[in-house]
Amino acid sequence: MITEALSGVAIGTIAGIVPGTHPNLLATLLASQSATLILATALAHTVTSTLALVYLWYPNEDTVLAQHPIAQLSARGLGHEAVKLLCLGNILGLTTATILTPFLLMALVVMHHTLAPYTVIIVTCLVLFFILHEPTISRKIGAVLVVILSGVLGHITLNSDITDPLFPLFTGLFGIPALFTQFAPRPPTRRQQPTDMVRPNLLQLATTVLGSIVSVSTLTLLPGMSVSQASLMSTFLLRIKKYTYLVLLGSTQTLDYYFSLLSAQTLGKTRNGALEIIGAHHFTPANQWLFISVLVFSTALATLATLYMSRHFPHIPHPRLLTIIVLALLFGAVLYISGHNGILVLASAASIGALPLLFKTNRTHLMSCLILPWLIRYGI
């Protein structure tokens, strides 16, 4: 068990700093391995991908909203502060939830039975809320367009016979547009110095972590809702300030796995790609603490590795060359896993994924690729 957990942490840590990779891709490649290895890999990747986000500027669907505060810190040469805040959130959220496990297990079951009859209404309201949350009329119209187009693509893709349809879909919607932003002209990057300047106070931290637990546990029960949407909800409800937002985002990232684990165990539903690949039936009350320990162990080790690497992160001399290599790898992976039809989905998804950048809207609207097919299936 320890060997598998350590191997998972090593694989996830290395893959996490490679831009454009996603825990679900690793889980797909490791599908024949044990659940411990897959979970440890996914968690380590989630934690260390912070480095790609801060120093190489590659967000995924979970971290798209973090671009703004990270850009502000990086512009002042404080990228290490952003890494620390994200790591603090990663570890603090998971620790608090682990301590509260018996209570959260009961709360999840109660909430599931309470919300289940109204799921369609709640999901529809949330989609409308995220559209109306856009600040201007033109962005609201852009958001509607993104919701419809990504939803239609999701509906077509998920009802096709493509192998592992989510992989080309998500890579196209989130990965490829993020990689292409590397080709846009950017201001010269400032040299990053390890400092200890940003210190959130205890009350802010407690509010943020508890807020993330409430939002992730609620959105875990709603189909198609992502980590970034949970963060957006918490930010709106708790009026979280810009740097504490990074703690919130870090916390929601690890809590996504934690609550998916509890959901698989109690409700038989996985809400996370890696856990879906392992299979919900593997998570039982008997091995509950074993898998929570895997989450805690891999998060803790990956946090230590991330902090160390952040202090020694090398300057990338040719970031665009790295982008081209990653693009070629992703293209090859889609062709290998999903075939020629997967490439078609990838191209369509990448075109739609570029729209939020064009309209300057929130990229979380792209999650409609899962929400709309679900609403068509269960709501109509």
């Binding site: 068990m1 320890i2 598998e4 957990a5 599908a31 024949s32 391995q33 044990s34 659940a35 411990t36 620390k84 790591c87 603090l88 570890i91 603090l92 620790t95 200890d196 940003v198 210190r199 392992i278 299979g279 039936h281 593997h282 008997a286 091995n287 603490w289 074993l290 320990s293 895997v294 805690v296 162990f297 998060t299 803790a300 080790l301 946090t303 230590l304 902090l307």
Partner: protein, 82 residues
Amino acid sequence: MTERFIIILALMLSIISLPVLYFSTDETRGIELQGTITPSRSLLTVIQLRTRHNLTPGARITARGRILTTPNHVAFITDDIT
């Protein structure tokens, strides 16, 4: 201070979780096959795996198709087979 706090917390958590990992076994690898194969889908899976990988009866197989050949050659699978 923040960084030191994170490091101390991470070290504590990794040490606390070590005994649980050390003394546990990952049951997703499967349980020993006892009795008869009842669901037709599971039987089909086993037959397909045997055909594809040229397995002899008694080879170890997990629910997700991983082959675990051991000196004992005991059939292993999770809850697909009862």
